[in-house]
Amino acid sequence: MSVSVSNLSKVYGEQRAVDSISFTINSGEVVGFLGPNGAGKSTTMKMITGFLEADNGDVKVCGLKNLDDPLAFKRKIGYLPENNPLYYDMYIKEYLAFVASLYQVKKPMLRVAEMIEMTGLQREQGKKIGQLSKGYKQRVGIAQAMIHNPEVLILDEPTSGLDPNQLVEIRELISNLGKEKTIILSTHIMQEVEAMCKRVIILNRGKIVADDSMSHVKARSHKQAFVNFKAKGKKAGNFHIDHIIFEDLENDFIRASSTKENALNEKIYNYCVENKFVLQHLEEQKNSLEDIFKQLTK
């Protein structure tokens, strides 16, 4: 149990930003936090790192509580905050050396050079942080989070502002790190979660609406089948099959969905043949993570 959170709550005025959530994450897990804006992802992360005090509930990281021994607790965590705040007037190496000194890293300059190589900052290493493009700043943010080789990495939107090549590199970096470390990351991008995470926690309005392994969440989506089809001159109102719901889409497409029927396309085909409808198009839809996200966070 690398990170365990129980009944964590945070209230801002009237709004319950985080409403008594609980989960445990084992070491070597990469967990994705998903949720619409204002769902409480960042607030939860801030409470795990100890930056925000929880109104209620407990956080344990590697068996340690923040209040018992804050310094040992904070040593276990590497953190990339939302919006990646950095000192723009410092040089990359200067900043990373400063961070290394805060953790009393042994042979700091060696470690700084290692991090610069790991995050692909070699070409930019002589620059001030303020002169870097957004993607490179993001790399500095990731480098400072990992410099002390923490057991738990908490990354709030680690891939925002990266170009597609950088995206792939950073994803690989995170996936590789995830083999030995516990990583919690948040993102709005579904593919990101699919690419990097073994487990996903979906938050909505401060509550956990789904907490499951990636494969389970996907499997859950197959329980509901979708078929998009087109029949010449027909509307959703022309179709009547038990347990299947029809709705009109754009361009005369009709969507059929059902939670009980599995062989939807067969039923629709047979129905069209029986009623002499001209079927122009029939396509089974896979329920993507995005659809699940939409359903859960409505």
């Binding site: 804050p70 905050p81 919006n83 000192y87 200067e94 400063f98 805060l102 953790y103 400072q144």
Partner: protein, 242 residues
Amino acid sequence: MYSIFLKEIRQFFSSLVGYISIGLFLVLSTLFTFVFPATSILDTGFASLDSFFSNAPLFFLFLIPAISMGMFAEEYKTGTIELLLTRPLSLNQIILGKFLAAFALVVFAVLPTLVYYYTIYNLAIPIGNVDTGGIIGSYFGLLLLAASFVALASFASSISNNQIVAFLIGVLFCFLFYMGLDFIAQLPIFVGRSDYFVEHLGINAHYLSMSRGVIDTRDLIYFLSLIGIFLLLTKLVMSKKK
């Protein structure tokens, strides 16, 4: 704490803040001490640095809030405070590191003025006929006054995320403690009753007492408690923001 101290010093000198504030202080104090006739010691006929020691606090009144205004306000505004507070650092270490860095900057500004002492030492007749004890006491007093200003200004910086607001509040606090309480003591309701007490809540009474060359424990305790109280208040504000 040493890392924070070092980082702050580096930032002072990588962003011109350090050079400009030290330069401005030295230019102003030299002009007022040796050039402008109203306060120039060359025209007074006495080998004393009194005019420097009475002008320097007025420069500090603006310069110290200016160098301290970003101390916490900027960290909160840009979010870098989040990085500091999630490191293995205690609040005490962060506040003390920053306080000492700003104080060190003031010490760097004051150090070159030792040349003034050398100047009047040589101008005096006979050479060396100066009140060295008084000047040492005055320097002590000036540094303690500067440290108090830094503590007041850091508190101001912690209560607002806006640097300009932090600067203005800092000037207000420094003014209130340096001169404001003296003026308040002269109000009719205090005169003859508690004016002595109110006056001694302010910095000036203790500063003047030190410039006589006597380092009184009461003055020392006053300065140290003023610094301590405002650093504690800073800590209180920062832990409230969590």
